[in-house]
């Protein structure tokens, strides 16, 4: 067995152990709920990065997350579907809408795409606001049920009303989704996406259907956004279309900031960015209204001074270390 594989296996085992023991170690409903939200955000930000793979920026990821959230919640409440099916259908709905919208949106170049996604998210939010018979209007959709309890032989019935049990559902689904996204990125499809980002005209000329791949990429990313929204809906038990709540423009801003602070060049960047910024904003909760200011300042600071994000830090540190080593050597020989 080679060393790299061993390291991978060990880190996965350690990570799994940490994920399993975290809620037990924290033993606190508040922090467990923070973990659940963090998991949902990690999935959102990672799928946002998937769109970045073809060179696009989406400012409307929360819009597709809204479709998944309302879709899944309504399927459970109105049609009585099971949670496990409805969250997938919620994601699928988001993907279908994304696929349909991607065709007209991709008529225009990069920066306009970002602008159109922002418009889309606002439109979806306003539709939820103005459609009270289906979505509960501005009062929001209330009393969304938790997943039905499941019975496993030998272990017994697991009840998901309990937040730490729901945490495990989120942890498993988010981990599986991240695995899928990672595999996709390193598959043949992912290479095509990266080829499109690097040189669109060249990719086209070697026979990659650029538009179709961009549409597919957007739909896949939005599927996971919808899935994340569905997970959020069944955790929160209530959805609100208010602009200050989960599905407003501000949340889209936070998602992009999480992505770039972590660093969008590596798969682990969004995860690191989300975890660190969530911890920082939790610690900064005492600052009250000043808290968004802090996050905004961090975003600007990172963009101006270390554009590759937090994951670029080790490399920078190494470079700096080598350079100083080199200098001391030169000074000695002189």
């Amino acid at each position: 067995m080679n060393r790299k594989l061993l390291i991978t296996i060990i880190s996965i085992v350690v990570l799994a152990a940490v994920l399993i023991t975290l809620p037990i170690a924290l033993n606190n409903v508040y922090w467990t709920s923070i973990l659940v939200i963090m998991g949902v955000n990690i999935l959102l930000v990672s799928s946002l990065r998937t769109i970045k793979l073809v060179g696009h920026i989406s400012l409307g990821h929360v819009g597709f997350s809204l479709i998944g959230a309302y879709g899944s919640a309504l399927l459970v409440m109105k049609l009585g579907l099971s949670f496990w099916i409805s969250i997938l259908l919620g994601g699928l709905m988001a993907a279908v809408v994304a696929l349909a919208l991607a065709y007209p949106f991709l008529q225009v170049k990069g920066i306009y795409f970002a602008l159109l996604t922002l418009l889309t998210a606002e439109t979806f939010r306003l539709i939820a606001w103005y459609w009270p018979s289906l979505t509960g209007g501005f009062w929001g959709l209330l009393k969304i049920p938790s997943p039905n309890p499941i019975t496993i032989p030998l272990i017994g019935t697991i009840n998901f009303e309990n937040i730490s049990n729901y945490y495990y559902v989120v942890a498993v689904i988010v981990s599986l989704s991240l695995f899928v996204l990672y595999r996709l990125e390193h598959s043949h499809l992912g290479f095509k996406w990266i080829a499109i980002q690097d040189a669109e005209a060249l990719a086209q000329s070697v026979g990659i259907n650029v538009k179709w791949h961009k549409m597919l990429n957007f739909a896949i990313a939005c599927f996971f956004a919808g899935l994340a929204g569905a997970l959020f809906a069944h955790y929160q038990h209530a959805l609100s279309p208010d602009s200050t709540a989960r599905f407003g423009v501000l949340m889209s801003i936070y998602l992009v900031v999480y992505m770039v602070v972590g660093g969008e060049s590596k798969f682990s960047g969004p995860v690191i960015g989300t975890v660190i910024l969530t911890i920082i904003s939790e610690l900064g909760r005492a600052l009250g209204e000043y808290q968004p200011m802090m996050i905004g300042a961090i975003a600007i600071f990172v963009m101006l001074l270390m554009p590759e994000g937090l994951i670029g830090l080790p490399k920078r540190g190494k470079l700096w270390y080598r350079r100083s080593l080199h200098q001391t050597k030169r000074m000695r020989s002189a």
Partner: protein, 288 residues
């Protein structure tokens, strides 16, 4: 639908006034986008801060309302110069970085407004009292003045871009950056000017909005989204497109809630944009 003519007239007037506010927003955005290549997403916050500057000048220091509006435009132009020099110039060549910086700026400015000005709603004194009768229905005077201001600013901008040396230099820089550099036009100076003019227009728009509607720290978000829609509708860098797109959106906002339901108003811009993109991707008045 049997609504009295007065209601229709009111809807059209309101929509028209709103539309011109959106035009002011869109003009700044399109100027910045075509010259600097940057999507300035904090423009809504510039609009909001501009409105508050007018409010404080006018209400706290008792300066004349029109004078305060010009003070606010000058202050925000200065603010724009500052933003361009220290935040946007270092990252201008990139795509993601300017967007993230403008998003960070949005967070900072919005929470500054919440902390500094408070969350409660206020309003700038009306531009004028009373109303005039026009085709058998009353039209408030302040809306007429607001539209007049917006039209005057649009015309001034048009004359500046067409007739003055600096304006022509800006147009050249937007058309071909390298070509303009070869003719000795500095892209940095052009960017500063675009940002200053754009922020001044936003301040004017914010002031008019604050007088007709309300002042809140989140007042900039909706006009920003509208301004972005207008750019897509009208085509980048087209003043005529921005004006027509803005009036169209304003009328949609004014008339559809009266005629149909408010829900449709929110859906309309997206549908229109999709149709435009399918039929004419470069926008109504844009060129490739």
């Amino acid at each position: 639908m049997d609504l009295p003519a007065q209601v229709w007239m009111q809807a059209i007037v309101n929509g028209f006034a709103l539309g011109w506010l959106y035009v002011l927003m869109a003009l700044g955005l399109t100027l910045i986008l075509s010259i600097m290549g940057i999507l300035q997403l904090a423009h809504g916050e510039v609009y909001m801060i501009g409105a508050y500057v007018t409010y404080y000048c006018c209400v706290s220091f008792g300066v004349n309302l029109y004078a305060s509006m010009f003070i606010s435009m000058a202050v925000m132009a200065g603010f724009g110069l500052f933003l361009e020099r220290f935040l946007f110039r270092p990252v201008r060549a990139q795509i993601l970085a300017p967007i993230v910086i403008s998003l960070g700026l949005t967070l900072i400015l919005m929470s500054t407004a919440v902390v500094g000005f408070g969350l409660y709603e206020r309003s700038i004194p009306r531009l004028a009292q009373g109303s005039v009768v026009f085709i058998g229905s009353a039209v408030p005077k302040d809306r007429i003045i607001a539209v007049g201001f917006a039209v005057a600013l649009l015309l001034l901008l048009y004359l500046f871009l067409k007739k003055s040396r600096f304006g022509q230099a800006m147009v050249a820089s937007a058309q071909s950056r390298e070509g303009a550099i070869l003719r000795g036009i500095s892209p940095n100076v052009m960017s500063s000017m675009a940002m200053a003019i754009g922020c001044a227009l936003a301040a004017a728009g914010g002031t008019l909005a604050g007088s007709i509607l309300m002042l809140t720290p989140s007042m900039g978000t909706l006009p920003l989204v509208k301004g972005l829609v207008i750019i897509v509708l009208g085509g980048m860098g087209s003043l005529l497109g921005a004006a027509i797109g803005g009036i169209f959106l304003g009328l949609v906002d004014g008339i559809i809630p009266v005629a149909f339901s408010p829900g449709l108003t929110s859906l309309a811009p997206l549908v229109v944009v999709i149709v435009i993109l399918l039929v004419r991707p470069q926008g109504l008045f844009g060129h490739e």
